[in-house]
Chain length 138, copies 2
DNA sequence: GATACATCCTCTAGTTACTAGAGGATCAAG
DNA sequence: CTTGATCCTCTAGTAACTAGAGGATGTATC
């Protein structure tokens, strides 16, 4: 059983952020010591690491709530879970496309630099292109 | 030359957001009509699309400012540009790793669902793992 | 057992990155 | 020349944290 400070160190989250996620219902309220201090287990830590990474990947809290729901109840009417998974898969794949394009361009710049020639930077064009943006180009 | 509304429609950004990016110095102030309305060109639109996509990929405004600097001055002392590019490349590759893991898992779930068997959801494990998180696991 | 320093608690307020709305001017169509 | 859409600035609200005040508890040391 870990204190909130230990969990913060392990996950890289700030202490108030952990309490915030609990208040938001993303993390189940952990048991407390007799004096009221929170005690976390491995499940909590994994869930928090998941939330952190998902946030770093640009998912918003409602989407993360959504994914956690899916993880928590995979046995529900298959259609529901499938719809959520499929929808999120699309969002993930759109992000992947753009990130790969950005990666290519940054690599090209680093390489160009290594060989002396500066060459111009095309990252704006690369990420400015809506063709790669399958999400909501509307 | 486009009005701010047209640019908003093209980029998917809200009008106040465009003005906000201008105030933050991420977008150069465009010329104005005699009555004070903003008029944008293609460069502005591309730059805004870049900002939008970068934000969707989880980059924060300071990082985006950083990348825009790189794009705006690729001829600067090569070391600088290279350092920025290399640093961002690392961040991009870490995100790619996690997104690919998440993609695999969501695909697996959709597939499992298609063939009838529900199977349990491992997305938390997949993104909860710090091994994939090269950025700042500290 | 007393002192001291870290860590925890709750609660309020501040920050970042938008987003909505008020109040008013300007433009484009009919 | 009026009507409706669009623009302007400015202030205030929201989401997702983040920092700090004020106070209790835990732990290590003498």
């Amino acid at each position: 059983m870990l204190t909130i400070g230990a969990v913060a160190r392990q996950t890289g989250l700030k202490i108030p952020t952990i309490r915030f996620y609990e208040a938001e219902g993303l993390l189940p309220a952990p048991p407390r010591t007799s004096s009221g201090r929170r005690l976390y287990g491995d499940g909590h830590v994994r869930r928090l690491a998941f939330i952190r990474h998902a946030r770093q990947l640009g998912f918003e809290l409602p989407q993360i709530r959504n994914l956690l729901e899916l993880a928590d109840h995979p046995e529900r009417p298959c259609g529901d879970a499938d719809a959520i998974a499929a929808e999120n898969l699309q969002a993930v794949q759109a992000r992947l496309k753009q990130l790969r394009a950005l990666e290519r361009e940054l690599k090209r710049m680093v390489d160009a630099c290594a060989t002396g020639r500066a060459g111009r930077c095309r990252i704006i064009e690369v990420l400015g292109d809506h063709a790669l943006c399958a999400v909501d180009a509307h």
